[in-house]
Amino acid sequence: MSEEKDNKIGLGKISRREFLRDAGIVVGGTAVSSAFFLSACGEEVEVTKTVTTTAPGSTVTTTAPGATVTTTAADNTVTVTKYTCPVDGLEFDSLEALKAHYDAVHGDAAPVAENVINLTVNGGDYVVNVKPEWTLQNVLRDQLGLTSPKDMCFGEGACGSCTVIINGRPVLSCMTLATECNNIIVETAEGLLAQNHPLIESYIKYAALQCGFCTPGFVVTAKALLDRNPNPTESDIREALGGNICRCASYPGHIPAVLDAATKLGGA
């Protein structure tokens, strides 16, 4: 749970699609969800969720997309109902508060700009007008001109070459709809080069590549590993990089490269 929590904290805002997807998230043991629908932009959108948490101790931190709630309960069971704005993801304690916020901020006449996403990529903020069928890979490659998310399997999610880091997690950008990416923080291999991350030089040092097409996907996956585990074992590295294909079979070189980077970062 802690890792789930850590990775969600700071997310801030969520898309409607993500809200719907995660409405039944299990937190601390059991959960039930209910829904209330708000009409927005000619479409009914679920805006509520009820989460029942069970956890030992008296303090429970409940984390769901768009909200972090800390409660104290003597009996270790807490029920929280939140109303989430479908446009900006802000949460409110009542439907009335949500409606007031919606009218004041977004307005009845204001269409929900579903095709516009705000995202931070390698430290830069971008606003992108996206089409419903676009993936994050389309946005990064075609709109932002970043060439590191490669395409080996043609959108099947099989090769890992399109991997980027979203909010700390390695994610297949070819399997992530762009409309789900509002207010996310993205890191790509270009960003690692710009920040002079030790993984770049370590991969070069151990020549952990041949043709190099798949390598950025490996590197960002390794970066996410080191972020959450500064002292990885060889087994950890094998496991973390297990979803990436290298047809040149550069696999043995990745292990010393990642360990070397971990050492430079102060781990291992």
Binding site: L146, F154, E156, S161, T188, Y203, K205, Q210, L241
Partner: protein
């Protein structure tokens, strides 16, 4: 003439371009060549590739660029009776359509008649209206605003198909599908070899269909400039050939070839199946629409099989001491490139051993699998020669190392002859490459003491124990056997050096090799050397890339160019004002304000990018200072251009140069590579566990050590996976591929990686610069035999490849 050859004063030496132990050809100080730990400065492509900032073929993008694809046939063998494209043409966003009956497309591609027979491997099926395997490109190519519109438009094409009979398995094909069945290679007197044998045995192994499964799908981008010029970004290991073919079949425009990186493997649709027709289709559509067109082939990973696949049957004659007296091999397989397929193992054996007598037969069956082609070339070659070693070792209960050493030699000659040859031509006669490679492997896996007869060792855990091996020559040992090259060097006014040549990009080490050698030959810091970019023009041509024969051909040209350029630099530094110089490339110098006017070139040298006086090293200037003294003339004041020169290396092969081959008694190969593998096999599940592996090559002279080791590691693993579990399945009823994507086609991932170590020895036995040979292909090709011999040693049965658990259990009689 001496200058032209860059110091090769003896025409005989120039023939073979051998420099080792040659006092007339002093070696440079190897400050960088062969050195580790140079980081990105020692391998300029690596930072780009690791960070994703390097431009690959599919990264090329232009405003308004259209995307194009060609229809793929849903049938295994079919012909178009008629086709209606009207609905596709009417789809909004469709900008251009080429039909198989359009003269502009059909005539251009249909006229291809290259020596490689690309007619059936490239896109001729597209314009012929006939295919030979499912998902082959056929009938129509469409360019549209987006990839999605292209896909939608292709679905709207209505075709009346004529379905035809097909066959998937080459072993069960009727005569109507046999396209070639002949004896292709004969060395010595094979019949007498079998008469002389103490024993004769037979072996049969089938290698089922594996595919390229490349990394970046095929792509070509054509960018028109006006009506008569076009830039073409090629996804090709031989980009200069793309230019050559386009000049013939697309005369409507002058095409200029660019060479981005291309994520890929060696060969296949990165090679002869690509360079004529694939970019040509992009060019025609770009000409037709007036817009940049990017032609895509997403299914290229699974188009065609491996040239190493087929059914191999051996008849092997041997003496009781392990000497092999004759090998006869029958190879049944798919055609390659539309011409004769097969492993050509006879020539490989001839080069590798002292065995005098070979006979090699090839039977090609026109299976509905697409053309089989080379990728990580040569797995079949190696198999033809390795299996007899393993079989003889088992038959005689000899250690395979002893069998290898017993047959050590080349071109039918024994080790003693090799030593005399090495002495005559200046190689070190005491460097036995095979022995050194075997000794290096044996330090990791003790084959000498741990080997056991096949199927005789059961471990305490109940599993079979097996030791496998493979041996091969470094078949790229012949200088220029993959083609010649000419490469330019430009020393800029800022004192940096640019290596200029159109080149493909493959393998690990070519950039690392190029900059290291150029820096050492020029006396420069390696960080002051870089290479031509993707968008630069192709005045000079490397051969292929860094792999294989490309290494020695290209590095040789760099050495020659560097030696000439260094000469010009020292002359410029000591220029006398009453002289006027025309350089080897025709440029004139004048108004040189020499920095060492009272010195001669012989009194100066270059080190760490500084020109200095030998007798007084503190008297020095930068290379940039020297370049800036040279005024190449022109209006409007001083003109400062790079100092420039170039070198070339010619192609030598048995067809073009029979005299050389005759004089050399064939082409003696002096360098080898070997691999050992230790495995365990669970008799209940058939599962193979690779306990340990070791791969050692002899590159002659290592330029970029980390790159060589990575090639050896990757080669071992890809060899293991190709013969261990990779297989493409077909529906026997429809002929449709069943696992043609990267979800279901079993390529290796990190957790499949065995415990393997890699190394190399340097015997200087290559014909390239400093005694070098190419390194990239052989480890992978060799590895495919390693797992086969290991499984045999474990269970005592020859198992078809891939050696999957079901096949092992079947061999054990358990299913």
């Amino acid at each position: 003439m001496d200058e032209y050859y860059g110091g090769w004063k003896d025409p005989k030496k120039e023939k073979w371009n051998r420099q080792t132990n040659d006092a007339s050809y002093p070696l440079p100080e190897f400050k960088y060549t062969g050195k580790r730990g140079l980081g990105s400065e020692g391998a300029p492509d690596k930072a780009e590739k690791v960070s994703g900032t390097g431009i690959f073929g599919r990264d090329v993008s232009y405003p308004g660029m259209l995307y194009a694809k060609t229809l793929m046939c849903p049938y295994a063998n079919a012909k178009i009776r008629s086709m209606d494209t009207s609905k596709a043409e009417a789809l909004p966003g469709v900008r251009g359509i080429l039909r198989y009956d359009d003269p502009e497309w059909k005539d251009a591609i249909g006229s291809e008649q290259s020596t490689w027979g690309t007619d059936t491997f490239g896109m001729n099926s597209a314009v012929s209206g006939e295919v030979g395997h499912a998902e082959q490109r056929i009938g129509v190519a469409i360019a549209a605003d987006t990839k999605e519109i292209v896909d939608e438009a292709l679905k709207l094409v209505e075709i009346d198909w004529e379905e035809r009979d097909f066959v998937i398995d080459w072993d069960n094909a009727s005569e109507q599908f046999v396209v070639f069945n002949e004896t292709t290679e004969v060395y010595g007197d094979v019949d007498q070899g079998f008469i002389d044998a103490d024993r004769v045995i037979d072996v049969k192994i089938k290698r089922n269909n594996t595919v390229w499964a490349g990394t970046e799908g095929c792509v070509a981008t054509a960018v028109p400039y006006g009506d008569h010029y076009m830039d073409v970004y090629a996804h090709n290991q031989v980009p200069h050939n793309t230019g050559y073919y386009l000049s013939q079949w697309f005369p409507q425009c002058k095409t200029h070839i660019r060479a981005p990186y291309h994520g890929s493997q060696f060969g296949s649709l990165n090679w002869v199946g690509y360079y004529p027709s694939f970019p040509l289709t992009a060019c025609i559509l770009a000409k037709k629409t007036g817009k940049p067109v990017q032609h895509l082939y997403d299914q290229s990973h699974f188009d065609g099989g491996s040239q190493a696949d087929g059914t191999f049957e051996w008849k092997i004659g041997m003496k009781d001491d392990g000497t092999i007296t004759a090998i006869e091999c029958w190879n049944t397989c798919a055609p390659a490139f539309g011409r004769i397929g097969g492993a050509s193992g006879g020539f490989w054996c001839w080069e590798n051993y002292k065995i005098k007598n070979y006979r090699y037969h090839v039977k090609n069956v026109n299976v509905a699998q697409g053309r089989h082609s080379c990728w990580k070339h040569g797995g079949g070659y190696v198999l033809v020669g390795v299996i007899p070693i393993a079989a003889v070792a088992e038959e005689l209960k000899m250690n395979p190392i002893d069998v290898m050493m017993k047959n050590n030699g080349t071109c039918g000659h024994d080790w003693a002859w090799m030593q005399s040859f090495m002495t005559e031509y200046g190689f070190d006669p005491n460097r036995d490459s095979l022995k050194e490679c075997l000794d290096a492997c044996n330090k990791v896996i003790d084959m000498k003491t741990e080997w056991h007869p096949a199927g005789t060792k059961i471990l305490p855990n109940g599993k079979y124990h097996g030791l496998g091996f493979t041996v091969s020559n470094q078949w790229t040992h012949v200088l220029g056997d993959k083609g010649g090259s000419w490469i330019g060097l430009a020393l800029r006014p800022d004192g940096t050096l640019c290596i200029k040549a159109l080149r493909g990009d493959q393998g690990t080490g070519w950039q690392g090799a190029w900059v290291r050698v150029a820096a050492d030959e020029m006396g420069m810091k390696v960080e002051d050397v870089d290479l031509v970019g993707v968008h630069d023009e192709e005045y000079f041509h490397a051969h292929d890339e860094g792999c294989s024969g490309g290494t020695i051909s290209n590095v040789m040209s760099i050495v020659k160019a560097a030696r000439k350029l260094k000469k010009w630099v020292l002359e410029a530094a000591t220029f006398k004002e009453d002289n006027w110089v025309i350089t080897s490339h025709g440029a004139g110098w004048t108004n040189v304000k020499s920095l060492f006017p009272d010195k001669t070139p012989e009194e100066l040298d270059i080190k760490d990018s500084m020109v200095f006086e030998k007798a007084n090293p503190s008297n020095k200037v930068t290379l940039g200072q020297v370049v800036r003294t040279v005024d190449t003339g022109g209006h409007g004041g001083e003109h400062r251009r790079p100092l420039f020169d170039w070198g070339w290396t010619r192609n030598i092969d048995p067809v073009l140069n029979p005299d050389i081959f005759q004089e050399l008694h064939g082409w003696p190969c002096l360098v080898r590579n070997t691999q050992f593998m230790e495995i365990e096999i669970d008799p209940e599940t058939g599962k193979i566990d690779v306990i340990k592996g070791v791969a050692v090559t002899d590159p002659g002279k290592a330029f970029y050590p980390e790159g060589i080791e990575q090639e050896n590691l990757g080669g071992f693993i890809t060899g293991f996976t190709r013969a261990g579990f990779e297989e493409l399945f077909y529906d026997p009823t429809t002929g449709v591929q069943l696992n043609n994507d990267l979800i279901f086609y079993p390529v290796s991932v990190m957790n499949d990686t065995p415990n393997v170590v890699a190394g190399y020895v340097e015997t200087g036995g290559g014909y390239g610069p400093y005694g070098s040979v190419g390194n990239g292909e052989t480890p992978s090709a060799s590895g495919q035999s390693c797992i086969t011999t290991a499984v045999y040693n474990a269970i005592g049965k020859w198992v078809d490849a891939p050696c999957t658990p079901d096949r092992i259990l079947k061999a054990l009689g358990k299913i």
